[in-house]
Point group: C2
Chain length 223, copies 2
């Protein structure tokens, strides 16, 4: 194994064993490189790799720190990969989303708070046929992320966020090409919010499935 890879797994081990915790500061590059038995240049390669997936946070002139190590890590890593696959296998990625999103909404149905329901309603204020595309995308993104948040599973949230970002473009296209899409989407969102309010988990799941599948089908035919 290359020295750099060895350094990566050594740092990883220090994290798993709890030797390094979230927020901790690593020894200076020079010192750490000596302790791990490699040159500073090689160590920097390892640190850069861990920085890419947001495990480490390097602050110039200050030091290198361990990030919060929470579920957001998934987001960065997955988003990078999803970005690369934008035009290739977007339908397969959408299939994953179609599995996760209804299940997430189903979870959310029993946990969502009145405050979150209110926020959910508010995302729909001021949205109509005349709203411009960017605002529509922002609304859509927020609508789904409130529900995801309510489900209370951060990993689920990160995964969904990463999966959805790549579809933003698709949504924009859809908004541009289909005239009645706004009213249609809004009606579906209202129905989902209603069902969430009543705590009807099964209906929520079905509605979200239909909602996601609608976009998916449009996408399938547009490709």
């Amino acid at each position: 194994m290359a020295v750099t890879d060895e350094a990566i797994s050594k740092i990883k081990d220090m994290l798993i064993r709890g030797e390094l915790k979230a927020g901790d500061r690593l020894p200076p590059e020079k010192e750490l490189s000596e302790r791990l038995g490699l040159s500073r240049s090689s160590l920097r390669e390892a640190v850069k790799a861990l920085e890419l997936i947001r495990v480490l946070d390097v602050r110039r002139g200050d030091g290198t720190y361990v990030t919060s190590l929470d579920a957001k890590l998934l987001n960065e890593a997955v988003a990078f990969v999803v970005d690369l696959h934008q035009d290739r296998s977007i339908l397969e990625l959408f299939e994953v989303r179609r599995i996760l999103e209804p299940a997430t909404a189903h979870l959310a149905a029993s946990k969502i708070t009145p405050d979150e329901l209110l926020a959910l309603r508010r995302t729909m204020d001021g949205i109509d046929e005349n709203t411009d595309v960017e605002e529509l995308v922002a609304h859509d993104l927020e609508f789904h992320s409130i529900i995801t948040e309510a489900a209370g599973n951060d990993y689920l949230g990160s995964l969904l966020e990463a999966l959805s970002s790549s579809t933003v473009r698709a949504r924009i296209w859809r908004g541009l090409t289909q005239e009645k899409a706004v009213a249609h989407t809004l009606a579906e969102h209202r129905a989902i919010a209603d069902a969430l309010e009543r705590g009807d988990a099964e209906l929520v799941r079905a509605l979200v499935t239909v909602h996601i599948s609608g976009v998916e089908n449009w996408l399938r035919q547009a490709l």
Copy 2:
């Protein structure tokens, strides 16, 4: 933006634009570094970062190549993150798995081939109460991965594989072996295989949900 980060996104752009395709060989480090306007050392940091998430494949003495860029990318990236979170939020990760696995099996029910069914059966040969832990883990891994494979969505496969990494499985099995878990698990696996053979998608989903939840409950109580 730092020189290295710039290099990362430039390479990423070359991939997205199709300037670089899967399997392509990158120019030598020296040449590429000159073209991107940075030093070789800095370029190497970028390359190392991209190698960690398996976008690039560096072959010493030969050259640097673009990997297949398929769904397996997700695996590496997610597995790394999951490894780091083993003791922390494993239950949340398990919840994601409990969503994905039944849905995957549901998909597989209508697509699985006779060959795959045969292979599924064969994983259970020679497994009984006396089988040692490592063999159990191998069987379990293979059983689930055949089903995932049959579902025909590589991203789903990568995610699931990463979520139920072999280290996690090993730990669970080690805890379970003392009890009657082997016979119990085997019976559940048989039932799932039977339902798959009959193409009863709904039953498959229910069985897998029960199967995964069983492990989850054990885990919840063991923590």
